[in-house]
């Protein structure tokens, strides 16, 4: 039923409405406390969407994306310092350059890490993250080491302070979503899904698995690096453990799993639910460290009760409800693009 034109229209209208609301957030709720939450939520929408391009589509779980996040932040910070660029809007223009540098790094790391599979891949990505953290700390002459790196201060202030960062994050999230959508509807995306389901068979039927995986990895990392750059400029001061933070890496993964692995809207939904609640927990219980316990509890409940995520579970429920109440109509033709990816359960 999903391929009915009317449903497509509703879907389209929904997407436009969500985008309109997202664009209007700084106008609707201008106080800095709210816009701060909005910046971080938008950041995680971007991060989760970017992670999903690799993790969701190919099934390769990277827990090291925080490394690219931190690298992007450092890349932008160092560019600004060495090019002597003052605070203002120019730093945003250099974000793509930081992204390009992250892409080069991701090409190298990906080439290496993707020689391994499954569990080993997960561990290798974690190892690379800690390597980057150590490098940021040890290359004192370049990064400032543990003393950290300062960004130039922006020229605006007051209630407007968060707004430019919000739109920068919004733009990156939109680019991520656009990329994710394009990939999802391309032959390249189909190849990635084939790799997730059975990599050896995919290779056997002619999917260039190596090149596809690496491309997805680099796209995903580049987006994360650019978001890291904007983040660095937003917080204006970074140090190794703060930007190459394993918690950032795991948060984007959790959001994707909560919303629905490999779906387009899942990461967005996951970020919308988790990031505000995480900020709330950290704000209210941050001092006692108990927020980590709450976070862990949410995490465990999500995975044990909704292992496939909200969107796939909800769609399945909807489908079941439709087939039960609707007339016994002939099954609708298969949609031209693969809809909800339901992973084949192998015994």
């Amino acid at each position: 039923m999903r391929n009915l034109p009317r449903l497509r229209l509703i879907q389209g209208a929904g997407v436009v409405a969500v985008f309109a609301v997202a664009l209007a957030v700084p106008a609707l709720a201008p106080d800095p406390a709210t816009t701060n939450i909005a910046v971080f939520t938008m950041m995680y929408i971007g991060l989760a969407t970017a992670w999903n391009i690799m993790g969701g589509y190919t099934g390769y779980i990277s827990l090291g994306h925080a490394g690219f996040f931190g690298f992007g932040a450092y890349a932008l910070g160092l560019l600004l310092t060495h090019l002597k660029i003052a605070g203002g809007y120019e730093p945003f223009l250099l974000v793509p350059v930081a992204g390009l540098l992250t892409a080069v790094l991701a090409l190298g790391i990906g080439w290496f890490a993707l020689r391994t599979r499954a569990a080993t891949f997960v561990i290798v990505t974690i190892a690379f993250m800690f390597m980057l953290q150590l490098l940021a700390e040890n290359l004192v002459g370049l990064t400032g080491g543990g003393a950290g790196l300062s960004f130039p201060s922006p020229t605006w202030s007051g209630d407007f302070f968060n707004t430019p960062y919000y739109y920068a994050m919004f733009l990156l999230a939109a680019v991520g979503l656009g990329a994710s959508w394009l990939i999802r509807n391309s032959k390249f995306g189909l190849g990635l899904l084939a790799i997730r389901d059975d990599e050896d068979k995919a290779l056997a039927v002619g999917v260039p698995t190596g090149a596809f995986k690496l491309t997805a990895f680099v796209i995903s990392a580049t987006l994360v690096g650019m978001i890291g750059g904007v983040y660095g400029y937003y917080v204006t001061y970074i140090y190794p453990q703060f930007v190459v933070d394993p918690l950032i890496g795991i948060s984007m993964v959790l959001m994707v799993f909560l919303g629905g692995l490999g779906t387009l809207s899942g990461p967005v939904l996951g970020a919308l639910i988790l990031e505000p609640s995480q900020l709330w927990l950290a704000y209210n219980y941050g001092a006692s460290k108990l927020y980590l316990v709450f976070y862990a509890a949410v995490f465990l409940i999500v995975i044990l009760l909704l292992p496939r995520g909200i969107i796939p579970s909800a769609l399945e429920l909807l489908e079941r409800w439709r087939t039960r109440s609707g007339p016994a109509a002939p099954a609708p033709a298969a949609p031209s693009t693969p809809s909800t990816p339901v992973k084949a359960v192998t015994p």
Partner: protein, 291 residues
């Protein structure tokens, strides 16, 4: 030269602890095909349990193991039954997230009860040492090393000389086939997880005596342990032990020859170099995933 030799000896002594901790981790992977990202946090939990008992009863830190090992074994059983066993589909990926969550939960609870201040277990003979040639070796390091060797030996005896060990090895080789010949793989998994936790308790004590630790120490630990088991080949006990010794010795030698800040980095460099040549690790078997 003496410095290098001293570093090598120290590397072997501390390598023993890492060998024990990594064995637990690789055993769990071998039996259950899950990566227990919470292993570092559970080692830190073991260290804190020992710390609490040691502070309350004022006994030799090593003696606390009589209590902490069974307790951690029990915790392991509960964790396996409650959190790992319900994962039916996509186990490998989901288990990483679940155990990560367990690590965060433990870090949070430890932070709540013990604050983030660094603590250390201290035996009364903490500073006693004996000379080997021109340098001194501290007794606690030797005791810790001997303890780890003893437990590792016990694990090997259990694995290769008992019927239960045979069922563990059978489950590691082929879970479905083991099930077919009547092995209760769920029970084996739970007990293997428990054994892993008991070794974490022992590793925790030695770690806690030789290092100052706080609830956040688990990140550093787990990154090293994961590197070690990948280097050794996932699921290979022998590989884990050799990798632990190689890693710790090269780390300590780097610390002396180059600088302590680069010591941990060598860890990862060795991993990268070995995986370039052997993506399956030193003793790993190259298997097609998801058969």
């Amino acid at each position: 030269m003496t410095l290098v030799l001293e570093a090598a000896v120290l590397g072997i002594l501390t390598g023993g602890v890492y060998a024990l901790m990594a064995s637990g981790l690789t055993l769990i992977f071998g039996v259950m095909r899950i990566i227990n990202v919470g292993h570092g946090a559970l080692v830190v939990l073991g260290a804190y349990l020992s710390f609490a008992i040691w502070r309350a009863l004022n006994i030799d830190p090593f003696l606390t193991l009589v209590i902490t090992m069974p307790v951690m074994f029990g915790i392991g059983l509960v964790l396996e039954v409650v959190f790992i066993r319900p994962l039916k589909t996509d186990r490998e990926a989901l288990s990483v997230l679940v155990t990560y969550a367990i690590a965060l939960g433990i870090e949070g609870l430890l932070g709540f009860f013990f604050t983030s201040n660094y603590v250390q277990l201290r035996a009364w003979y903490a500073n006693a040492s004996f000379p080997i040639g021109s340098f001194h070796v501290t007794y606690v390091y030797v005791y810790g090393f001997v303890l780890c060797l003893a437990i590792l030996a016990a694990i090997f005896v259990m694995l290769y000389r008992t019927t239960f060990g045979a069922s563990i090895r059978a489950t590691m080789l082929n879970r479905t086939a083991a099930q077919l010949i009547g092995i209760d793989v769920d029970r084996v998994s739970a007990i293997a997880f428990g054994i892993g936790m008991a070794t974490a308790a022992a590793g925790g004590v030695v770690f806690g005596i030789t290092n100052a630790f706080n609830p956040g120490s688990h990140y550093d630990l787990i990154s090293r342990l994961l590197t070690i088991i990948v280097l050794g080949g996932l699921g290979s006990l022998r590989g884990a032990i050799i990798a632990a010794l190689v890693m710790l010795v090269s780390e300590d030698i780097t610390s002396v020859l180059i600088s302590p800040v680069w010591a941990s980095f060598v860890f990862f460099v060795i991993l990268v170099l070995v995986l370039l040549v052997r993506p399956q690790g030193l003793y790993g078997v190259r298997v097609r995933d998801r058969l």
